[in-house]
């Protein structure tokens, strides 16, 4: 199920980008949301979680961008942050929104800073703020939808989902 959720989110991100206008308030980061929502399914196997996140980041780099390893780094760091957050906060329906917002903003900022660090972009605080601002709504909606779907599947198969 983990692989399915990650791959569907990954492909969906590419498809949605084609439908939503470039400068809209609905920038999709479904791959990042997917690694957050699937975290409880890894049953404390942090190494496995990091490997999956890094691999998805690498696939992301190769498919959607021309910058190898930037997203691999960003996905790995984001995955590490997710493991840290989930140590202190339970990933349930109520906390999900807050954690998604923090994770997405963190990931976006890290990616932007890495791109600036490797001179792919020049730093512009307004661009960063506008980018962050536009990437909240669609990702919160997506995370909530995926969370409910996974929760139902887990209930059906009598698996524990909440972390």
């Amino acid at each position: 199920m983990i692989v399915a959720v990650l791959l569907i989110s990954f492909i969906l991100e590419g498809i949605i980008s084609n439908i939503i206008p470039l400068d809209s308030l609905f920038i999709s980061m479904f791959s990042v949301v997917a690694i957050l929502v699937t975290y409880p399914l890894f049953n404390d196997s942090k190494i496995k979680f990091l490997i999956y996140s890094g691999s998805l980041g690498l696939l992301y780099d190769l498919t959607y961008t021309t910058t190898p390893f930037i997203n691999t780094f960003a996905f790995l760091i984001t995955a590490l942050i997710i493991t840290l957050i989930c140590k202190f906060i339970t990933l349930n329906k109520l906390n999900l929104i807050l954690i998604v917002i923090f994770t997405v903003l963190f990931h976006e900022t890290i990616t932007y800073l890495l791109l600036c660090l490797f001179r792919y972009r020049t730093f512009n605080d307004m661009t960063l703020i506008m980018g962050l601002y536009s990437s909240i709504i669609s990702n919160v909606i997506y995370s909530y939808t995926v969370y409910i779907i996974i929760e139902r599947i887990c209930k059906k198969h009598k698996r524990k989902y909440v972390k």
Binding site: G14, P21, I27, Y64, S134
Partner: protein, 281 residues
């Protein structure tokens, strides 16, 4: 068997070494115009094909909705055009004369860089600006269709950017709507019969306008004047529409004019593009 503490240290050491190697590789690899290797090309081609196939039914519905809107618009336009159609014969004759004059001028001035001389490769956009910060679109034609890095990319409304990386069946196009100062393009502003030359420096996202700098000419520039490429560099052919003058101000150093240009292209809605094959001119 290693003890638990040693094991942890070993893992941290391995992670540090891997991260170090990745940093070095990334520093070398993160260049916009670099050539993709076989592995990158294969993954990019297959995943783009997959997403493209899944997108097809969605795209079909989207196209149908668009088509319906277009039909309504076209019907209104048809009525207007019908009136103009009577004058078409007059225009045809005039075009023939003008074409002849252009050919003569091209021969005498040794110019062969107008847009009409370029082979056009049409392509569809597969995904747009995934990852938010890249300002790129991926298209479904690559080196097998004759596309190479650096080729100009246009839509029916004007210039949108240039090809930055190519795999066998896909290409990545860097859009002009980036706020980086890397897209210096030689442009001219057409004011009445005169051309005023300048340099398109960057895109101001806040005002949705290109900024053209380096204009020393004192001629008054009217709002609404057309801005087109000059073709003075090999990157972009001459005569591609970039936009219209929005306002005229002073540049950052208050020395020369800076012109705000409204893009002719809506960057939020790019579906079909044309790549201009520079080598076939």
């Amino acid at each position: 068997m290693l003890k638990n503490g040693n094991n942890k240290k070993c893992i941290i050491l391995i992670i540090l070494v891997v991260v170090g190697i990745l940093v070095v590789v990334t520093t070398i690899a993160v260049k916009e115009n670099r050539k993709l290797n076989f592995f990158e090309k294969a993954i990019k081609d297959s995943t783009t094909f997959l997403t493209g196939t899944i997108y097809k039914p969605i795209g079909f519905i989207k196209d149908k909705i668009k088509e319906n809107d277009e039909k309504n618009k076209i019907y209104k336009q048809y009525k207007k055009l019908k009136e103009k159609a009577d004058k078409a014969k007059l225009y045809e004759a005039r075009i023939k004369v003008l074409e002849g004059e252009i050919d003569n001028l091209k021969t005498s001035l040794d110019i062969n860089q107008t847009i009409t001389d370029y082979k056009k490769i049409n392509a569809s956009v597969v995904n747009r600006n995934v990852g938010a910060w890249y300002n790129t679109v991926n298209i479904n034609k690559g080196s097998k269709a004759g596309i190479k890095e650096g080729y100009a990319v246009i839509t029916d409304k004007g210039l949108i950017g240039k090809v930055v990386s190519v795999s066998n069946f896909t290409s990545t196009v860097k859009l002009l709507s980036t706020d980086e100062v890397i897209n210096k393009i030689s442009v001219k502003i057409e004011v009445d019969d005169k051309s005023i030359y300048g340099l398109l420096s960057y895109y101001d996202k806040k005002n949705n306008a290109y900024i053209v700098e380096g204009i020393s000419d004192n001629t008054e520039i009217k709002n609404g004047s057309k801005v087109v490429t000059t073709g003075l560099t090999d990157a972009f052919p001459a005569g591609i529409l970039i936009g219209e003058v929005k306002s005229v101000t002073k540049d950052r150093y208050e020395l020369a004019k800076a012109v705000e240009v409204t893009p002719s292209v809506d960057f939020g809605d790019i579906d079909i593009v044309t790549v201009l094959d520079r080598d076939s001119k």
